[in-house]
């Protein structure tokens, strides 16, 4: 497979507004791709389409050769999405939340939450939730990692953690990252895109 | 079922008919008005 992510003329509307308009882009397998753009430019929408959380209205995208419109099960098996929703159950603790996705012990230590593993999520701060979401993504062992604002709400240590994890995953998986940290990510990204008003610039 | 013959009852018949016709008429008028607004 030459391109792990191949977006072909994808458009998506919310009500009367087109959030994405005829976006076409391709990310080679194993590469780290950066998608920049201001708030509301369609970054999250694109990642959510790639993760099959929402359907494109027009066009199609191939993830690992599978169509996000028709082969959603296969796409889901390959991808993991770090969304701006945490996907966590407030009433459960970190370990219980993660055990829905796999064996939690190793990753909890990896993201530095081992000490707080038994506390319910409702007592977590925003940064800790982000770390936990990160742990969830790692647990899914995805071939295509979709990171939506991975640096958001993290402390400087968290920033380093994200960088480390990305460099660990490089080569093993394809990474698509939507971020405002253009300079930081720009240093190590292989492919760069910029979205503006739902269109590729 | 009652055994005896029901006598009279025209008022019930009128009530049923006028209710039906009236409701359908009002609904139809509202439809026509709304459609006219669209088509223009």
């Amino acid at each position: 497979m030459e391109f792990a992510v191949d977006v072909r003329g994808v458009s998506r509307r919310y009500g009367r507004r087109w959030a994405l308009a005829e976006v076409s882009l391709a990310v080679p397998t194993g590469a780290v791709a950066m998608i920049a753009g201001s708030n509301g430019s369609g970054k999250s929408t694109l990642l959510r389409i790639l993760a099959t959380a929402i359907r494109p209205d027009l066009g199609d995208a191939l993830v690992g050769g599978f169509s996000v419109k028709k082969e959603r099960e296969d796409v889901r098996r390959l991808t993991a999405l770090l969304s701006h929703y945490s996907y966590l159950y407030e009433a459960l603790n970190a370990r219980e939340n993660l055990s829905l996705f796999g064996d939690p012990n190793a990753v909890l230590a990896r993201v530095g939450l081992a000490a707080r593993a038994e506390d319910p999520i409702s007592s977590y701060s925003a940064g800790m939730r982000k770390r936990l979401s990160f742990a969830r993504v790692l647990l899914q062992q995805p071939k295509v990692v979709l990171l939506d604002e991975p640096y958001g709400q993290l402390d400087p240590e968290g920033f380093r953690l994200v960088d480390e994890v990305v460099s660990e995953l490089r080569g093993k998986a394809t990474i698509v990252m939507a971020t405002h940290q253009v300079e930081r990510v720009g240093k190590f990204a292989d492919v760069k895109f910029e979205l503006a008003q739902g269109r590729l610039r | 079922m009652n055994t005896g013959v029901v006598t009279g009852g025209w008022s019930y018949v009128w009530a049923a008919y006028s209710l039906t016709a009236g409701a359908l008429f009002l609904y139809g008028v509202s439809l026509f008005v709304r459609v006219r607004r669209i088509v223009q």
Partner: protein
């Protein structure tokens, strides 16, 4: 923009005329001493009338764009009103009173057509729901909304007529008769779906959810009927079908076709309105890249 696919009005009209012919024109002519049945037996006539009527109505319903001015819908409504007036006049003034129920029985000439057509409208809504879930075509969503709304209206009228009829015959406004109860449940179930459609702003979700809810509610209706029948089996009182002479079924059928035509026209008009709403809510087709740039 809605793409209007023009479809010929002729097959629908032919089917409906065929239905009306065997439905009541033959009997009407017979009443005045004319035989125009072409030697077809009465049973077959009734079958032809029913099938042609339903197929003709469905033909109109699935091509609710016979010209942008909706001439066909208006024509159907006018035709329906004519049939309904004729049938009602016949039923109210020409047909003799029934032996046991007297004049009150004349309610039947409006009650039974309402029941048939209300059920037909809801069934069409159910079909729309199934088709929408498979095809995700907005046309079917609009038809679903229209037919459910018209079906609820007819079923509500049915309940009222039932109550009006029940008072002189059974002495009470409401009897926990399976038909009455089922109709009431049906009205509430589908009213809930109409309310759901009002509350959901996202058009796609609204369409999918109301389709799902319609399918579930439709499946529920026969279960309700049987459970109420069971519940009621001790004091069950159903009018036994009696041999109905042409004098009784003539106004019945005229009105049935009248309401059928009116209903079809209404659904066509209503689905046009529903489509307009979806069109308003969805984004216009993608602007070209150049226009986007200018808009910035």
């Amino acid at each position: 923009m809605i793409v209007m696919r023009e479809r010929s009005i002729v097959p629908g009209i032919v089917l409906l005329l065929l239905a009306a012919w065997f439905g009541f024109a033959v009997a009407l002519a017979n009443h005045y001493g004319l035989d125009v049945s072409f030697g077809i037996s009465t049973g077959l006539q009734a079958a032809i009338a029913a099938i042609a009527g339903i197929v003709g109505a469905v033909y109109f319903l699935v091509s609710d764009n016979l010209g942008p001015s909706l001439k066909a819908a208006r024509l159907l409504v006018v035709l329906g009103i004519a049939c309904f007036l004729l049938g009602s006049w016949y039923g109210l003034f020409v047909a003799p009173p029934e032996k046991f129920m007297g004049q009150v029985q004349r309610i039947m000439y409006v009650h039974v057509p309402t029941a048939w057509n209300g059920l037909l409208a809801i069934t069409f809504g159910f079909v729309c729901a199934c088709v929408f879930l498979f095809k995700s075509d907005w046309k079917w969503d609009a038809r679903l909304e229209a037919s459910i709304e018209v079906g609820v209206l007819l079923s509500f009228l049915l309940c009222c007529q039932g109550a009006i009829w029940a008072k002189p015959t059974w002495g009470v406004w409401w009897d926990w008769d399976p038909r009455l109860t089922t109709t009431a449940v049906l009205v509430f179930a589908f009213l809930g779906i109409l309310a759901l459609r009002r509350f959901v702003e996202d058009p796609l979700r609204r369409a999918v959810w109301s389709s799902v809810a319609t399918i579930i509610a439709y499946v529920d209706v026969p279960i309700v009927y049987f459970s109420v029948k069971w519940w009621n089996s001790l004091h069950q009182q159903q009018s036994s079908p009696q041999t109905v002479s042409s004098q009784f079924y003539l106004p019945l059928r005229m009105n049935a076709f009248g309401v059928l035509f009116i209903m079809t026209g209404f659904i066509m008009l209503r689905s046009r309105i529903a489509r307009e709403r979806v069109e308003q809510e969805l984004a216009p087709p993608l602007p070209r890249a150049v226009e986007m740039q200018e808009a910035v």
